[in-house]
């Protein structure tokens, strides 16, 4: 069971919802793996202090050029084919801008002289550890590295065998979010009842609809804004999974890394319902799938 927590807008409470759901599941005796898929700004460890037991470098294959084998001025095969402007010829030698390279391997395929060998660029690290009864997977991109999707995929792969997975996704709607939510059984979108919150929720809904992923919405900081998000959900027929009441006390506790399900019974109750509803929906749709197969 793979549950992704996403939002469109940053700062709506994705990580808060994700860590508290993981704690509830673990307390109920479920084996849970938490995958922090926000590799640029991972924060789950703030709430779930983690002992990292294993750390591996995430590497992108990039080319290395053997200038002695290169045919020189008579050939431009790699220069002409690279679509990422990662190669230039300077002083007769092929030079690579490693940060521009996507690691597609076309230059190696195309080189008639076999002058292209393999090298790697470090994207960051992928790590695994534990926080109490919760297994943790996460990544940390290298400062200055623009590509994060291979790292996100590596984090998810490291959690791949667990029966219950909670994926905390990055904000936005671009390629890192696609990499993070793809393959989820259910996406919980966390929204706040503000103008920015509604606008970006709409984008996130379009995204999960395009990907064909089952989804529902948790409204966080309920009461701080207006009810435009509620009427939007109603109009669009989107499931409202729960409303987490906004309070200064909860904001303060979260700011310090506190787990709200431990100190705010009313928030615990909301999130227990959210977890039960989502798991029930996943089971129901898996059951439907099996029934369809049997027929």
């Amino acid at each position: 069971m793979k549950i992704a927590i996403a939002s469109g807008k940053g700062g709506t409470g994705k990580t808060m919802v994700a860590v508290n759901l993981a704690v509830l599941a673990a307390e109920a005796g479920q084996q849970v793996v938490f995958a922090d898929c926000d590799v640029e700004e991972p924060n789950a460890h703030v709430f779930l202090p983690t002992v990292w037991e294993r750390e591996d470098k995430a590497l992108l294959p990039i080319p290395r050029f053997d200038q002695n084998r290169c045919l020189g001025e008579s050939c431009r095969a790699c220069l002409d084919l690279c679509r990422f402007k990662a190669l230039i010829r300077m002083a007769g030698e092929i030079m690579l801008f490693p940060e521009m390279c996507h690691g597609c391997g076309l230059c190696k395929l195309a080189c008639p002289a076999g002058a292209v060998a393999d090298d790697v660029r470090e994207l960051g690290v992928v790590r695994q550890g534990v926080s109490g009864g919760i297994r943790m997977a996460g990544g940390l991109s290298r400062v200055g590295e623009a590509m994060s999707t291979p790292l996100i995929k590596a984090v998810k792969q490291s959690a791949n065998d667990a029966p219950l997975q909670i994926w905390d996704c990055p904000p936005g709607t671009a390629c890192p979010v696609i990499a993070a939510v793809s393959g989820a059984d259910y996406v919980i979108l966390v929204a706040e009842p503000t103008a920015f919150g509604l606008h970006d929720l709409n984008l996130a809904v379009e995204l999960v609809r395009a990907l064909g992923l089952p989804h529902g919405v948790v409204i966080n900081r309920d009461g701080m804004g207006d009810d435009r998000v509620l009427s939007y959900l109603e109009r669009e027929g989107i499931a409202l999974l729960g409303r987490i009441p906004g309070s200064l006390e909860a904001a303060r506790a979260s700011a310090r890394g506190g787990l709200l399900v431990r100190t705010f019974p009313e928030i615990r109750a909301v999130l227990e319902t959210v977890l039960a509803t989502v798991q029930e929906r996943i089971r129901a749709s898996a059951g439907q799938g099996e029934a369809a197969c049997a027929r």
């Binding site: 807008k9 996507h102 400062v143 623009a146 671009a174 700011a255 310090r256």
Partner: protein
Amino acid sequence: MREIVVLSGKGGTGKTSVTAALAVCAAKSELPGGPPVLADCDVDAADLHLVLAPAVLERHEFIGGDKAAIDAAVCQSCGLCREACRFGAIDEAFQVVEASCEGCGVCAYVCPAGAATLGPRMSGDWFLSETRAGIMVHAALRMGEENSGKLVSTVKKAARAEAERLGRDILLVDGSPGIGCPVIASLGGASTVLMVAEPTLSAVHDLKRVHALARHFGIPCAAILNKADLCPELTRELAAFCGESGIAVLGELPYDPAFVAAQLAGQSVAEYAPERYEGLFSEIWRRLAAS
């Protein structure tokens, strides 16, 4: 030309609210160089337009790169393209999975039948607009698209051209959360990073990564401490970090429901509660413009 880029690492700390308030106050100020040209570089979840209500003057399509297509009528299902594609972008039926395709051209290169071809990828739109706070360049990335970095660079380039045309000295750029592709693109040519910090453990962690990124590119930083009274001991920690790191703290803002109320009213907080915020943001702008 000077470029001030508003960043935070963590989302939701108040980048766009701060940018909007600064823009409105800067437009009224009589500092030399005139008001800044605005650029919303949070292209995959842009919100500045919700406050500044731009009237679009020009709309341009953005081609983010290429994407592959495989002609099923010509494809011989030999499997060479699937084997060579490093992005897992060709499915078992030999169709291109658009969300995974990076447009590298490997499939077209290896296809013996000429079934795989590359074509332009419409990845979004960008706009040149007029607002009550001056000229603004903004964009909308189509959902799930690649190349948000390239769209950010396109927005900045257009904003610079507009500033030159109007004889303006400063760009004010609203950035994305994170420290990846779009953020790195928004830092190209930046003269100052204005960090909007909030006193939460998550935001402190994330801000340090943004600061490391700015240092990586050699760009000086300034900071605004937002929601300062939410957690005073973390605000002190933030202030201490700024002090040690040579980051000028330009102002503190309270945790104030007026920020959300302003947003819902389609105003910047400097317009919604001018008695509290107009002077404050004007002074922050004066210090930024002089830095």
